[in-house]
Symmetry: C2
Subunit: 355 residues, 2 copies
């Protein structure tokens, strides 16, 4: 039901973005880039949680010097995040980095931009024009809305890159305010052919930030806008990746591990459905198969939802019916709910050959 | 930027829904309704977390008998959730309940419906036509999509209520699948004038379920669809309420307590911004003032975002600038970030007279 916006395909290292490529999940290391050991360890963690592209901050020449060792330790594409100093961009390009993020708010000199683009073009390295509401260039007309300012900043910068015959471009326009972010992306989506990197900036701590990110990027993705997603949360980057995948999963855009449907419980429930759901979630935690599991507490929606899942349980008074692919395969008593359900789940996964 | 769908205004007890009323946050007790003490305690908890309407399951006559005592203990409107047995609906109406939820999947006999509606009409008690993908009535044509089946079920039921000259109606069409839920609500939104209760059913445990709920209801609310929201999570109902408010807050639809913007941190940060954000969140936890606080880690977006918040801190190497309403009010050293920031926050709240 989602009609994805058509965008130009680009490559960051060996990962495609835009066109018909999957919507890519990316994140950013939070270690001091100059601390090579810590940074590599965090990138390894990002590999294990299926992050597809990693950005690292490159605030000085010591951070630039760390890039070759970091690159050597991972097969994930590495993007250098550059602000203020164009020489860091030039130096990062020389290290063989897979992509650059430039901020139009703080690298603005045309000659500096030209030098970066010449080097990026030689190496065919894409550049993200990364606009952020918190670091927009100052303008004369203070009546211009934040949305228009973001879009204008991105368009002007993109044009200056195009004027240098460079089109390996990706664009982002992030704000904390969700309606502004959406409006800005909608405007730019119609004006440029490049892939868009979507996200809500500085969304906060995981509990509130994941909701804000889900609302903001969910609305954009539903409108077909977005070729790669980065969820920005004040927490470990693997949590950002997990939230990004959950957003994509809820729109049926990508699969990533199990989906657990469970009823909220109510005064009708005759078993402790919340504890059962928690136990199932825990047991599913290492599983990568995109299996849909339903844990249901009563006869109202229980059989319907359990039937619709790959494996499900519909509980009643001290008893539960286990469903597999739409059929009841057994009836179990209260003490055996978890064991019986997990048995069927593991059996199905084994059969699918992914365990 | 959101143009809300026009809907008929109804009243559940003393709470308006639809029309120009705020989008109401509701939840459901998870205690055994027959356990009056536990149920009242949970409703009191729901009062304290700003839940505006409470639904309780009424699965038998003992649960019906509990309603008067429950009603007496709270000023929140109480909705009786009825399935299968129309006599429970009649009995619940006699107890003075504020609203009913009927499931068109399991109370279908026209004479039974007529008797419920006659009684509801006498008392002017609204009824939610609560369609759920897991409990749809069976149909002949198995080619019909789940979306069409949900919409048809709701429309048919609504028509049967209207034919009895009853229009105190609210409608919901919930599925676990987000695109289906959205499509169903979009279809019904154009066909009926009644307020819509939105939610993603059985969304699961808090971490994944809040993301799925945020994506699903966020998209609907952004399209102007939804007059009341219930987030269904396998957890304490106050957590459902908190998630619902966060969804509404991210779209600037309602205010509810502080908003904490914080940077995700990266290799550029020179202070532990994640710990600082966590400490600020903790100290803000009891506060009801809709104050916007920014906790930022570096000079890229820090000053911009801190300036835009009510109170903010933009940290740098061992120092931080505290902003209040767009102006730097002090510069503090690393050990004093939290204290200095909270001082300004509390001062602003006191000035606004809400503490």
């Amino acid at each position: 039901m989602i009609r994805r916006r058509r965008s130009k395909l680009i490559r960051i290292g060996n990962v495609t973005i835009g066109g018909d490529a999957p919507i890519r999940v990316q994140s950013m290391t939070k270690t001091d880039t100059r601390n090579i050991k810590d940074t590599i360890r965090q990138i390894k963690e990002l590999e294990s949680c299926d992050c597809e592209i990693v950005r690292i901050a490159v605030p000085d020449t010591e951070a630039v010097a760390a890039i070759p060792k970091i690159k050597k330790a991972t097969s994930l594409p590495i993007i250098a995040d550059i602000h203020f100093d164009y020489r860091l961009a030039l130096a990062a390009l020389q290290t063989g980095v897979d992509g650059l993020r430039l901020n139009p708010g703080n690298i603005r000199d045309q000659e500096q931009i030209t030098r970066i683009i010449q080097s990026a073009k030689e190496r065919q390295i894409p550049i993200r024009v990364g606009v952020n509401a918190g670091s927009l260039p100052s303008i004369q007309n203070s009546n211009t809305s934040i949305i228009e300012r973001m879009v204008k900043t991105a368009l002007d910068y993109t044009k200056s890159l195009e004027s240098l015959d460079f089109n390996l471009i990706k664009v982002s326009l992030k704000a904390f305010d969700v309606p502004s972010t959406i409006a800005a992306y909608q405007m730019i989506a119609e004006r440029i052919p490049y892939p868009l990197h979507v996200g809500i900036t500085e969304a906060g701590l995981p509990k509130t930030g994941s909701i804000r990110s889900a609302v903001g990027t969910g609305i954009l993705l539903y409108q077909g806008i977005g070729d790669t997603i980065r969820v920005s949360l004040s927490t470990h980057p693997c949590e950002e990746v997990a939230v990004a995948y959950e957003i994509l999963k809820s729109l049926d855009i990508r699969q990533h591990g199990p989906i657990l449907l469970s009823c909220p419980s109510c005064g009708r429930a005759e078993v402790d459905i919340i504890s059962l759901a928690q136990a199932v979630e825990k047991q599913l935690s290492g599983i990568r198969e995109p299996i849909k599991v339903a844990v249901m507490g009563c006869v109202v929606n229980g059989p319907g939802e359990a039937k619709d899942a790959d494996v499900g349980i519909a509980c009643g008074r001290g008893k539960g019916a286990i469903f597999k692919k739409g059929r009841v395969v057994s009836t179990v008593t209260a003490g055996n709910f978890l064991e019986a359900l997990m048995k069927e789940i593991f059996e199905l996964i084994r059969k699918n050959g992914k365990l």
